[in-house]
C-alpha cells in the first residue's frame, strides 16, 4: 500500500492528493482512499485528525454510497489512539453512531463492531458517559435500523455496567424484545444468548421471563426459530449457577413447542441445535427429550431430517448405549434408505462417529450393517462421506470386517465420472493404507493407484503422485522401489508427453522420501533419459527436476554425470530449455 505523503501545515492537508481522493467523484477511488484512512490519520497526527479529517468524514457520512461507508466504519474502529485517546473520542463515536443508524445491514454491522472494539478500550467514566449513553440513544430511536444496531451493543454495555446502570438498561432491552417490527425482535432475541451469561439467574427471571415466553410464541417464524438458541443459552447459564431443575422447567416446554412447530424452519433449528440444548440441560435431562429428537429424525421435511441426522453421534454421546440402541438406532436404520440424498449424506458423515461410543462388539453387532448399506449407496457423496470418516470405525473394529465391501466401493468411486469424486477418494487412500499390509494393499488397490497416474484430468495425476509419496512414507522404500518404480519407468516410455510430465512430477515429489542409493540407481537415470526427450517441455522439466536432486547427489556425480547433460541442454535449440538449464547450471 502506498503511504500517503503529508505536508506540515493545515492547508497542505487540503492539497494532499490522498485527502482529495476522499471526495473524488469515482466511487472506487473513494473506497480505496477510505481504506487507508487509519494510516493517513496516524501520519497527520491527532490534532489535525480532529480538526480537519473528522469534519470531512462527517460530510462523507451524510450521503455516500454503502461501498464507501462500510470500510469507513471499519477504519473508524482504529481511531481511538489516532485522535489522542479517549478524551477526544466523542466525534469518532458520533460518526459511528450515524453509521450504525444506516439502513444498510453491512454498514451497520461494521459500525457496531467498531463501536464495540472502541468501547472495550474506554475507561469506566468515559465508557458510561459516552458509550452507554450512545447505546441508549440508539435503542430509543424512532426507526428500526438503529434499534437493530443497539441490540448487539447491549452485551458490551451490560458487561461493564454497575447494577444500578443495569437496572436502567435491562428494561430498555426488554422493550426491544417486544418491538413492533420483526427486525428488531429478531436482533434482540438473537443477542439474548450473549446477554444471559452476563446476568445472574434472578435478574434474568425478573426481566426476561415474560419476554422469553412471548418470543417463543411470536407470530413470525423468523423470531421463533431464534428462541431455540436462546433456550440453550438460558439452560447453560442456569446450570452454571447450579439451577439445573429451574432451567429444565424453562427450557423444556419451549423446546417441545418448537420441535412440534408448524414451521419446518423452527423444527430445523431445534434439530441443528439439539446438541447445544442437550449440553445446556445436561445428560440426565436429555434422556427425557430423546423422543423429541427421534421425532425430528422422522420429520416430514427433508431439511429437518438432514439437520437431525448430522447430530446423531453428538446426541448419542450424552445417552447410555442401551437407550441409543432402543430408540435412535431404529430410526437410523430407516434413514439409511431415506428418499433424500442430502439426508443420507448427512447421516453417512455422522453415523461412523457412533463407533467409538459403541465399542468393538457394539459396532460389529449394530452398526456394521448400516455402514455397509451406506457404502453401497447409489450417490457417490454418501459413499465418500463414509470413507472419509472410516478411521473412526477402523480404530474400533479394525478393517477386516469392512474390507470385503470397502474395496469394491473404493474401486467404484475411483472410477467415478466426476473427477472431484476421484480426487476425494485419492485423498483417503494413505490413511486407509496405514491399516493394511503392503501385500494386501498392492493386490487390491495397487492397480488403482497406478491407474490414476494416467488419468485424463491433470489434478488427478498430480494428486496420484502425491498419493504415491504418502504411500512411500507409509510402506517404506522397498514398496517404492519394487512396486512403484517399474510403473514409473513404464510411464516414462509412453508416447503421450503428458505421462512423461507425470514422471517428472514424481521425481521432484517422491525423491526426498527415498534413500540416496535408490536415488542414484533409479531416479537419476530416469531424469537423465528425459533430458534428451524430443519434447521441449519435458527437457526443461528434466532440467528443473535435476536441480531439485542436487542436494542429495554427491559432488562427483554432479560434476561428472549431471553437468554434461545440463551443458547439452544449455545449448538446446529451444529458448525455454536453455533458460532452465542455465538456472540449473548456476545452482550447480
Amino acid at each position: 500500500k502506498k503511504k500517503p505523503q503529508v505536508g506540515s501545515v493545515l492547508s497542505d492537508i487540503m492539497d494532499n492528493p490522498f485527502y482529495q481522493s476522499l471526495t473524488n467523484e469515482d466511487i472506487q477511488v473513494r473506497t480505496d482512499a477510505v481504506k487507508g484512512l487509519a494510516d493517513f490519520a496516524e501520519q497527520i497526527g491527532p490534532q489535525r485528525t480532529l480538526d480537519v479529517l473528522l469534519p470531512t468524514l462527517s460530510d462523507i457520512c451524510i450521503d455516500d454510497e454503502d461501498e464507501v461507508l462500510a470500510p469507513l466504519a471499519v477504519e473508524l474502529g482504529k481511531f481511538l489512539p489516532l485522535v489522542g485517546g479517549e478524551t477526544h473520542i466523542q466525534p469518532v463515536l458520533y460518526l459511528l453512531e450515524g453509521l450504525a443508524k444506516s439502513e444498510e445491514t453491512s454498514v451497520c454491522q461494521k459500525a457496531v463492531a467498531s463501536l464495540s472494539a472502541i468501547g472495550a478500550q474506554l475507561s469506566e467514566g468515559v465508557f458510561e458517559s459516552h458509550f452507554v449513553s450512545l447505546v441508549i440513544r440508539l435503542a430509543e430511536s424512532e426507526w428500526f435500523p438503529p434499534k437493530v444496531s443497539a441490540c448487539p451493543l447491549f452485551a458490551d454495555a451490560l458487561k461493564r455496567s454497575s447494577d444500578a446502570k443495569k437496572e436502567q438498561l435491562l428494561p430498555l432491552y426488554v422493550q426491544l424484545c417486544q418491538d413492533e417490527t420483526p427486525m428488531v425482535r429478531r436482533a434482540a432475541a438473537s443477542n439474548l444468548k450473549n446477554i444471559f451469561p452476563l446476568l445472574h439467574p434472578d435478574v434474568i427471571l425478573k426481566y426476561f421471563l415474560d419476554v422469553y415466553h412471548l418470543l417463543a410464541k411470536d407470530p413470525q417464524d423468523s423470531v421463533r426459530f431464534i428462541i431455540v438458541e436462546v433456550a440453550a443459552s438460558l439452560a447453560s447459564t442456569f446450570r452454571a449457577h447450579n439451577l439445573g431443575e429451574k432451567s429444565l422447567e424453562l427450557v423444556k416446554p419451549v423446546v417441545l413447542a418448537c420441535a412440534e412447530d408448524r414451521s419446518w424452519r423452527v423444527r430445523y433449528m431445534v434439530a441443528s441445535n439439539f446438541v447445544l440444548i442437550a449440553n445446556g440441560i445436561g445428560a440426565e435431562a436429555t434422556q427425557s427429550l430423546v423422543y423429541v429428537f427421534v421425532n425430528l429424525l422422522k420429520d416430514s421435511e427433508a431439511e429437518v431430517r438432514t439437520a437431525a441426522s448430522g447430530k446423531i453421534s453428538g446426541v448419542s454421546a450424552l445417552l447410555d448405549t442401551q437407550k441409543v440402541i432402543s430408540s435412535i438406532l431404529p430410526c437410523v436404520a430407516g434413514l439409511v434408505n431415506d428418499d433424500s440424498q442430502q439426508v443420507r449424506s448427512a447421516l453417512a458423515s455422522d453415523v461412523l462417529l457412533l463407533a467409538p461410543i459403541f465399542g468393538n462388539e457394539g459396532t460389529s453387532q449394530h452398526l456394521l450393517n448400516i455402514f455397509l448399506r451406506l457404502l453401497r449407496d447409489d450417490v457417490p457423496d454418501v459413499r465418500l462421506n463414509i470413507i472419509s470418516k472410516l478411521d473412526q470405525v477402523t480404530k474400533v473394529i479394525g478393517l477386516d470386517k469392512l474390507s470385503e465391501h470397502l474395496i469394491p466401493a473404493i474401486i467404484e468411486l475411483a472410477e467415478d465420472r466426476q473427477w472431484r469424486i476421484r480426487l476425494s477418494v485419492i485423498r483417503y487412500i494413505p490413511p486407509l493404507a496405514k491399516q493394511l499390509n503392503v501385500d494386501f494393499f498392492t493386490e487390491k488397490l495397487g492397480d488403482l493407484c497406478f491407474g490414476w497416474l494416467e488419468d485424463s484430468v491433470s489434478s488427478i495425476r498430480k494428486a496420484s503422485v502425491e498419493n504415491l509419496k504418502d504411500l512411500t512414507a507409509v510402506f517404506g522404500e522397498a514398496f517404492a522401489v519394487n512396486n512403484v518404480l517399474p510403473k514409473i519407468v513404464e510411464l516414462s516410455k509412453k508416447t503421450n508427453y503428458l505421462h512423461r510430465m507425470t514422471v517428472l512430477l514424481f521425481i521432484s515429489q517422491v525423491s526426498p522420501a527415498l534413500s540416496e542409493a535408490a536415488l542414484n540407481n533409479h531416479i537419476l537415470p530416469l531424469a537423465l533419459t528425459l533430458a534428451s526427450d524430443p519434447v521441449a517441455n519435458i527437457r526443461f522439466g528434466a532440467a528443473s527436476a535435476l536441480e531439485t536432486l542436487f542436494p542429495r547427489l554427491s559432488a562427483e556425480t554432479k560434476q561428472k554425470v549431471v553437468r554434461p547433460v545440463l551443458q547439452t541442454l544449455n545449448a538446446d535449440k529451444d529458448i525455454d530449455v536453455r533458460l532452465y538449464a542455465a538456472q540449473a547450471l548456476k545452482a550447480l
Binding site: 454503502d66 439502513e103 444498510e104 417490527t181 427486525m183 413470525q220 423468523s222 421435511e301
Partner: protein, 437 residues
Amino acid sequence: IRDIVVPALGTTFPMESFNTQFEKAANKFYAESPSVWDFSQMFGEEDNENSDDDSQDATDNYISSLAFDPQGELLAVGYNSGQVVVLTQQDDWTYQLYSEFKSHDSEFDCLTSTEIEEKINMIRWYPFQSQGQFLMTTNDKTIKLFKLWNKGYVDDTPDIGVKQRRVFSGAHAYNINSISFNSDGETFISTDDLRINLWHTDVSHETFGVVDIKPDDMEELTEVITCSEFHPNDCGLFVYATSKGVVRLCDLRDSALCKGYSKTFKDTESDIGGFFQELVTTVSDVKWSPCGRFLLSRDYLTMKIWDPRMDSRALRTIKFHDHLIPSLCDLYEDDSIFDKFTCSWSGDSMRIVTGSYNGSFYVCDAFGSHITQMTAAPPSAPQRSNNILDSSHKVLHTAWHPSGDVIGLGAKDFGFLYLKQQDDSESESEEEEEESQ
C-alpha cells in the same frame, strides 16, 4: 386464528361470526357514507407530436404500475419506459412530484436473442418505515431495490436522493409478473410464469425456488402463474393465481419446496364466456385484504371475494362486466381479452376498486352489494363516447391509499386521483379554502 380488529369501525369481531358481522358492518358503513368520489387531480402529459411521429414513443409514456407506500404519503408510478415517478402527498390530499428516476433500461439477452423490455411490471414498497423509503421495482427479468431519502432542503423544497441498493437478477427463465414483500421484513418472493423464488433482501446472489409448476415436458403445459402475493401479516402464507382461474394458497412452513399447496380456490359454479371461458377466467390480479381475512381475485368479467378458510366456493362473485359478454368475440379479435386489470382493497378492507374500459372504474363494498361506476376523466373533459368497449381508454391499474380514501388510477399515459367526498360540512370548508386560495 385471532379476533379481528377493524380499526375503521373501532370494533373487534368475534372469530365465529366474523363474515356475517363484517358484511353487516360493511353494508352499514357504505349506507351511512355514500360512495361519492370527486376528481382530485390528473398527472401525465399527452405528447401528441411524438405520438404522431412514432407510435412506440406513445406507449412509452403508459403507466404500467401504481403503488402507495405503507403510510400513504408517497405514490410511486411506474412507466413502460422504465421510468419511476414518485409523488408526495400535500396537506390538501393532492400529490406533487417528489422524485423521478430511471429504474430499468432495455437490455438484450444474448443467450436467447430476445429484447428485455424496460417496462416496470410491478412496484412494491418495503412494508416497514424507516428514515429512508425503500421501493422495489421489476421488469421482465430484473428486480431492483431503491432507497429514497431526504438529503435536506434547498429553498424549502426537499432534495431527494435516490440510490439503487441491490439488483436481483438472473433467477428467472420466464417473465416476472409480480413481486411481494413478506411481513418478516427481510424476505420477498418474485414470480414468473412457472416459478416462484424466495429471496432475502440483503442477499442478491442466491434465491430459493419455492414453487415450480414447470412440467417435465413443456408440451404438457396447461397453465401459467399470473400473479402472487404474500399474506399481509402471516409470514408463512402466500397465494398465487394461474391462467386457469385458480388461486392457490401455499404455506412456507409446511416444507422447503411448496410442491403441493394448502388450499386451492376455483370457481366451479359460474359458467360464462362459452368458447372464451378459459381466457376470461384467467386471474389477472389477486390481493389479500389488508386485514388478512379475505382474498380478492380479478378475472376478465368478475371480481371474486374468497374466505381462505372456505375453499369450496367464492364468498361473493361480483359481476360488473356482464355487458362485455355479447362482445367477447370482438374483444378477442383486437386482443383486448388479454388485458390484465388489477384490483385493490381499501385500507379498512371494506371496499375494493377495479378498472374497466372507456375510462370506467368500479368501487364497491367488499361484498359486492353496492357497486358504483365512475369515469376517470377531468371534470372539464368532453363527455366520452358511449362505447362501453372503448379500449383506447382503459383503466388497467388501480391503487388505494392505505389509510385514507384516495384512489389512484392508471389509464394509458394518464394517472388519476379520486377523493371520496367528505361529509357536507367538511367539503364546504374545503371549498371555502380553495376559494380563498
